[in-house]
Amino acid sequence: MAENDILKEITEQEYKYGFVSLIEQEYAPKGLNEDIIRFIWEKKQEPPFMLEWRLKAYRYWKTMKEPRWAKVHYPPIDYQDIHYYAAPKSFKEKPKSLDEVDPEILRTFEKLGIPLRERERLAGVAVDAVLDSVSVATTFKEKLEELGIIFCSISEAIRNHPDLVQKYLGSVVPYTDNFFAALNSAVFSDGSFVYVPKGVRCPMELSTYFRINASETGQFERTLIIADEGSYVSYLEGCTAPIRDENQLHAAVVELIALKDAEIKYSTVQNWYPGDKEGKGGIYNFVTKRGICLGENSKISWTQVETGSAITWKYPSCILKGDNSVGEFYSIAVTNNYQQADTGTKMIHLGKNTKSRIVSKGIAAGHSNNSYRGLVQISRKAEGARNFSQCDSLLLGDKCGAHTFPYIEVNNNNSIVEHEATTSKISDEILFYCNQRGISKEDAIGLIVNGFSREVLNQLPMEFAVEAQKLLAVSLEGSVG
């Protein structure tokens, strides 16, 4: 196939999840003011401390300016032109069991490959499905409860476990943290909540599936995961949205807290609608994700596969506070057409003998721009800290860009920090080598991209690795170096 044809083929790949479900929706009026926040608070039936917290965040947000330092370009967002709350009408109250869920909603998730019922039978993954502003179903709740694990939507957690929420909500990402975190704190409507008690190893993968359905809405979800001493949990997150010409805002906040000897593994396969091939439409994915290793020997591991969104702006970070704690960040970011990604991580070493590892793989095609931006900070007291960072970029086509902005700050003399980065295209030599052995150009590129991203894909839980691999193949099929 001629190069042009192959390139055409990738840029014309259809977005599979772009359908809209016809569900009767209930909206909050457009715009943002204190009444809207009260409206959300009332809808959610939250305790009074939440209203206070939300209003504080909103008032702080009003004093802030939208940040412009990232290497992304987009027209100004009108924050008054968004519905901050949208929910299926049938949802006066969250259904007790799947039988009560609107069949249209079930069909929606089935179409997305998340058949809630089937999952229940297959056992293995517990799912919390979030549609627009509300959580529609959480599976396997009872089974998890037997072990003392709390897995529910954050609204339920606020109502049923206010002590835990009040203690930890905003402890890692305070509402003063940044513009989008403040906005999220004011208006967040749903998300997942996980609490794993002392010494419990969560027997199955916990998963949340986010779906934007309504138009002219923003999705502001909030996830809070607490792993108590000696516990382990693996959490997955997936997301899709319909094809629309407008840009929709998605500003989430994720907070992870790992106490002594605990381990949290957080994986994301992000596949929001990326916009069409002229760069029209798509989701603005402005997300704040941060975890704190509070106790000794704790570990937080972030894995992300970023293929969707018109703009991705996201830095899953680790604060390594406990001695001997470990932070990991594995990322594949794929951009095509006019997508822009500015993603990376922050590793803040505070405790002694803390270790971190960053593996970031960027793949840019079409007219897209793909940036890695990361910070490794070793504080004076973080004796014996160790960091290794590697960020590789692969360029497919001559109209895209790949950039790296690593910040390294070392404040003591017994830590080792290493950073390396490479940028290249798929070399003709490698392609020729494969061709020579009877592998077509198409397959060879698949092979090379797969090899390029293997290190990260290997970190994903089995259930997701398959999906991610397929996603990569779809995003990059027929790429030419």
Binding site: W69, I378, R380, S393, L395, L396, G397, D398, K399, C400, G401, A402, H403, T404, F405, P406, Y407, I408, E409, V410, N411, N412, N413, N414, S415, I416, V417, E418, H419, E420, A421, T422, T423, S424, K425, G481
Partner: protein, 445 residues
């Protein structure tokens, strides 16, 4: 009065009714730009790790005129200059003196002001894209420059001796210096330039010096910056280089024990098949600060750049490295390499490094690497187990760490001078350095 107000006062007092209308216009335009941006704070991305707030507390004026006798004495102390034939252009407190040495048939040396609008077009226009908001000190320099060197060489000449720009400062009050140099290297020229800074001032000196270098086709230029023991001095050293096709450029930056140095090194490929090497060594100890900011712009295809900075940090010394490689959309077949390695010897030393790639072309090979660490204990043990003291073993390792970049200096005299300096710093005076294999075999015989 803060820094900006003082700068404006100096401008009103000293430059407003002075010089040609052309110059006045240039100065005014740039002063406006500088006023608009102001003194960079830690919120400016390019000055994130470099705190300039102290400049607001300094009461300063332009440096006084001084006679050359002191400078000539200072020159005698720099032994490599005595050992070799060279041409020295002293710049005393920012004022260019008549040069020492006689090679007038090959080289044109003039005052920059006389050349700037000589043929109706501003020769600086070529460099305009380097004078930008990220470095307001370039505006300050263009607004307040007092004097400067214009240097050119006859085409097709291979200079056998180095040209030395000798910056010498001496003042009894806190002073500011802005020197603006333009060096034009024509085709097929081979030239070796050394820019040397010596501060003999009791009071603080703020030096904001700028050199613009244009390298024509097939030319081969090496430029060495020697910044050694600069106490009481805040040096902002700006170098802007544009090279045409098939040229070679090499720059080495040596900053040993400097109170405050910021090197802004900008390089732009304006022709194909050119190469450039940027190397540097910095030593920082108590109260020292070095900030190396480099930008390599691959605007044209088929070029190669290789950057290598190494630093040793002791005491509460601080160093900053920010290296940016920019590859333009059409600059295919670019090879760009960058490395920054740091050894921290003390627990209060600090390093901030930011190697940065911005790449818009696909057929390129670009890598960067940065490390920060301490001396390898295994290596240390290996040497100690062979009967060498721990202190000596450390020195040997440090010496081998930096010698990679020392060896890259072209001039024998300068290289040996720097090696001696490094040896003295590391207390290795009694170890014999062999510059070649032959010498080594002679010794063992």
């Amino acid at each position: 009065m803060n820094f900006i107000e003082r700068v404006n006062k100096i401008f009103d007092d000293r430059f407003l009714n002075n010089g040609s209308s052309y110059l006045l216009d240039l100065r005014k335009r740039n002063l406006d730009k500088f006023n608009k941006i102001g003194l960079p704070t830690l919120k400016h991305e390019e000055w994130k790790y470099t705190n300039l707030a102290f400049l607001n507390d300094l009461d300063f004026n332009l440096l006084p005129f001084i006679s050359s006798t002191e400078a000539v004495n200072a020159l005698k102390n720099i032994n490599f200059l005595n050992e070799t034939e060279c041409i020295v252009i002293p710049i005393l407190n920012g004022v260019v003196e008549k040069h020492l040495g006689n090679f007038e048939d090959l080289i044109t040396i003039a005052k920059f002001q006389e050349k700037i609008d000589e043929d109706g077009s501003n020769r600086l226009n070529l460099f305009n894209h380097f004078f930008e908001a990220s470095n307001p000190f370039s505006y300050l320099n263009l607004a307040l420059f007092n004097d400067g060197v214009y240097l050119s060489v006859k085409p097709n000449v291979e200079l056998e001796f180095p040209i030395v720009l000798f910056y010498y400062y001496e003042s009894e009050y806190t002073g500011l210096s802005n020197t603006l140099n333009l060096i034009e290297i024509p085709e097929n020229v081979k030239a070796d330039i050394i820019i040397l800074f010596v501060n003999n001032s009791q009071e603080k000196v703020i030096a904001n010096e700028m050199t613009n270098l244009h390298i024509s086709k097939h030319a081969n230029v090496e430029l060495n910056f020697v910044q050694i023991d600069l106490k009481n001095m805040f040096l902002i050293n700006n170098l802007n280089v544009i090279s045409e096709s098939e040229s070679n450029f090499k720059t080495n930056v040596f900053s040993f024990n400097t109170n405050f140095v910021r090197n802004n090194i900008n390089y732009d490929f304006n022709g194909e098949h050119s190469t450039t090497f940027l190397n540097g060594i910095y030593f920082v100890d108590d109260g020292n600060f070095v900030d190396n900011h480099t930008l390599v712009m691959h605007s044209k295809p088929h070029c190669m750049s290789d950057e290598n900075f190494k630093g040793i940090l002791d005491g509460n010394g601080r160093a900053v490295f920010n290296g940016k490689i920019y590859v333009a959309r059409n600059a295919q077949k670019t090879n760009a390499y960058q490395s920054n390695k740091n050894l921290l010897l003390s627990n209060s030393a600090r390093i901030n490094t930011k190697p940065q790639l911005e790449i818009y072309a696909d057929d390129v090979k670009c890598t960067h690497g940065a490390t920060a660490g301490f001396l390898d204990q295994d290596m240390l043990f290996y040497i100690i187990s062979r009967g060498i003291s721990k202190e000596k073993a450390k020195s040997l390792l440090l010496n081998s760490f930096v010698s990679e970049n020392l060896e890259k200096v072209g001039s024998n005299e300068l290289r040996n001078y720097l090696k001696e300096l490094v040896a003295r710093k590391l207390h290795l005076e009694d170890i014999f350095f062999c510059s070649s294999i032959e010498e080594l075999t002679k010794v063992s015989l």
